[in-house]
């Protein structure tokens, strides 16, 4: 069932000198419920702009965006967001209070929201850490808190903007496995922005590759039909990696030529 549809979506900004800057152009995408969609592209292609549009932080300059047939007009709690950095967490609140935040906003009783937040923290592997403040947590743990905070609110879709981009390779690997497990358990739809091909194949059920910016758009969609755990030695993994790598490299080269011209 279609959850989100983007039709001819474009976003342009005005530079400081007043010149228009096209970040995303003619972006078309349909997402089905339960998908784990990875949006991949070279830096500057506008993939974070797409996420910002999906979240409703910015509105499209052209085109239509719909969630279950209803037009997206702003941020809403049916679309949870996990940011790359930890600056979205509230340092004056404990891990538990951060996770409760969304529930508190809608006036849920203290006991109920505490119970829900604790369950959520347990799912992201943070049992026993609920009383700590973000400053006392490692980078990986802070991202876990962010994921728990977004999921506690029971969004229809989870939007993730390079959430593991700032983590060390070891932690990132652990977090990928964790996220995959959470997704399997929660059956939540995920849009995951990354520039890491490996990450996209390990996580996604479908990978979208964007063209180079400015005015980036969706170049192609590839389904990842490797069931269960993905191992990097799997011939299907290797074939997909080669295929996607070719697509992305072509775009990076094009961006290079364009900026040199």
């Amino acid at each position: 069932m279609t959850l989100i549809s983007l039709t001819g979506v474009g976003k342009s900004f005005r530079s400081r000198e007043g010149r228009p800057w096209i970040a995303v152009a003619d972006f078309n995408l349909t997402l089905a419920e339960g998908e784990f969609y990875c949006l991949l592209g070279p830096s500057g292609c506008g993939k974070s702009t797409v996420l910002s549009l999906l979240a409703g932080f910015t509105l499209p300059s052209t085109g239509r965006m719909e969630l279950s047939g209803k037009s997206i007009t702003g941020a809403s709690r049916d679309r949870g967001v996990v940011f790359q950095g930890d600056d979205s967490l509230y340092p004056w609140l404990t891990a538990l209070e951060n996770v409760e935040f969304g529930l508190r906003l809608r006036g849920m009783s203290r006991r109920e929201r505490r119970e829900r937040a604790m369950r959520q923290l347990e799912m992201v592997g943070l049992s026993g850490q609920e009383g700590k403040h973000p400053a006392e947590l490692s980078g990986g743990m802070k991202q876990r808190v962010q994921i728990a905070r977004a999921l506690a609110n029971e969004p229809r879709i989870l939007l993730m903007d390079e959430p593991f981009g700032a983590l060390d390779a070891q932690t990132r690997g652990v977090m990928q496995v964790e996220l995959r497990r959470i997704w399997e358990r929660m059956k939540v739809t995920v849009v995951f922005i990354t520039h890491d091909i490996d990450e996209a194949i390990v996580l996604g059920t479908r990978v979208g590759v964007m063209t180079a910016g400015p005015g980036g758009t969706l170049k192609s969609n590839l389904p990842i039909d490797i069931p269960g755990e993905r191992t990097r030695g799997d011939p299907r993994y290797i074939a997909l990696y080669e295929q996607i790598h070719g697509l992305v490299r072509h775009e990076v080269e094009r961006a290079h030529v364009r900026s040199a011209a």
């Binding site: 979240a55 932080f57 702003g74 940011f83 979205s88 026993g128």
Partner: protein, 277 residues
């Protein structure tokens, strides 16, 4: 990649942050001792210089000052004067902060308000509160109102500027996260913007507190019936060198204690804030 969930459960431990170590505790004890010794050296140097180097009635040694302080404590003068100065500082400081915080929040939150109010803050804050003493006395007399006015004047601009800077420093992602969690603009203001600004507000208040001491002494020197400034002035008039030194040492102690209390309060209420941000 089999057995992933088990590995995942172990993950928080491997990612854990360092706890406070034994060497850290030892360091604290050493630092505390060094601090104490630092104070002792201050009095020792004072004693040596006053007794053996200067050796003049114009520079009494610490012991003589202590004796005089005890006398002044016994006849109640010291307590009266300290009480008068402190009361003015506390009233003016609290009033200045209570007025300054909302103004700073408004300036930080609304660009239009900033445009309108900045000419006020950006011109008035350059008049030192000491320069306002004469007009304050003409307007409000030599009683309490002129002192409180001056302390408010000292406090308010620093608090406004720090509060506004704090609002400006909130990372957009904090606001966005709240929006995506369903927060209304009212909830964003009270549950995100305000708490995120608290460390900046407290910093502004701490600086303002220090400035309040400067201002109150200057104001009392010029016109007042009581206070540490009056003590200093009368000491000069009647050549009571001991009284002057008692007043100076009192200022040292009061300022130090007030700052420590403030720091303690900040650590207590805002220690969990990431002050490094």
């Amino acid at each position: 990649m089999s057995g992933a969930p088990a590995r995942a459960l172990d993950a928080p431990q491997t990612e854990g942050t360092d706890g406070r170590s034994v060497t850290g505790l030892w360091q604290t004890v050493l630092n505390g001792r060094a601090y104490f010794l630092g104070f002792c050296s201050l009095f020792l140097v004072w004693h040596v210089v006053a007794t053996y180097v200067v050796a003049s009635v114009l520079f009494p040694p610490p012991l003589a000052v202590l004796v005089r302080a005890i006398e002044l404590l016994q006849d109640g003068t010291l307590a009266t004067n300290i009480g008068a100065s402190l009361q003015r500082i506390v009233i003016g400081f609290i009033a200045g902060s209570v007025l300054g915080i909302p103004i700073g929040l408004v300036i930080g939150s609304f660009p239009l308000a900033r445009k309108f109010l900045e000419p006020w803050t950006e011109s008035l804050r350059f008049i030192p509160s000491v320069a306002m003493i004469t007009i304050a006395v003409i307007w409000f007399g030599i009683g309490e109102p002129s002192k409180v006015f001056l302390i408010i004047y000292t406090t308010i601009f620093i608090v406004i500027l720090n509060t506004a800077a704090g609002v400006g420093a909130i990372s957009p992602n904090k606001i966005r996260a709240a929006q995506a969690l369903g927060a209304s603009s009212r909830q964003i203001f009270f549950l995100v913007a305000f708490p995120a600004t608290v460390p900046y507000i407290l910093t502004g208040m701490r600086i303002a507190m220090a400035n309040s001491f400067t201002t109150i002494v200057a104001a009392e020197l010029v016109a007042a019936n009581s206070g540490l400034g009056v003590m200093l002035w009368q000491g000069r008039m009647y050549m009571q060198i001991g009284d002057i030194f008692v007043a100076l040492v009192s200022l040292c102690i009061l300022g130090f204690v007030a700052d420590r209390l403030f720091r303690f309060g900040v650590a207590r209420f805002a220690g969990r804030y990431d002050v490094a941000q």
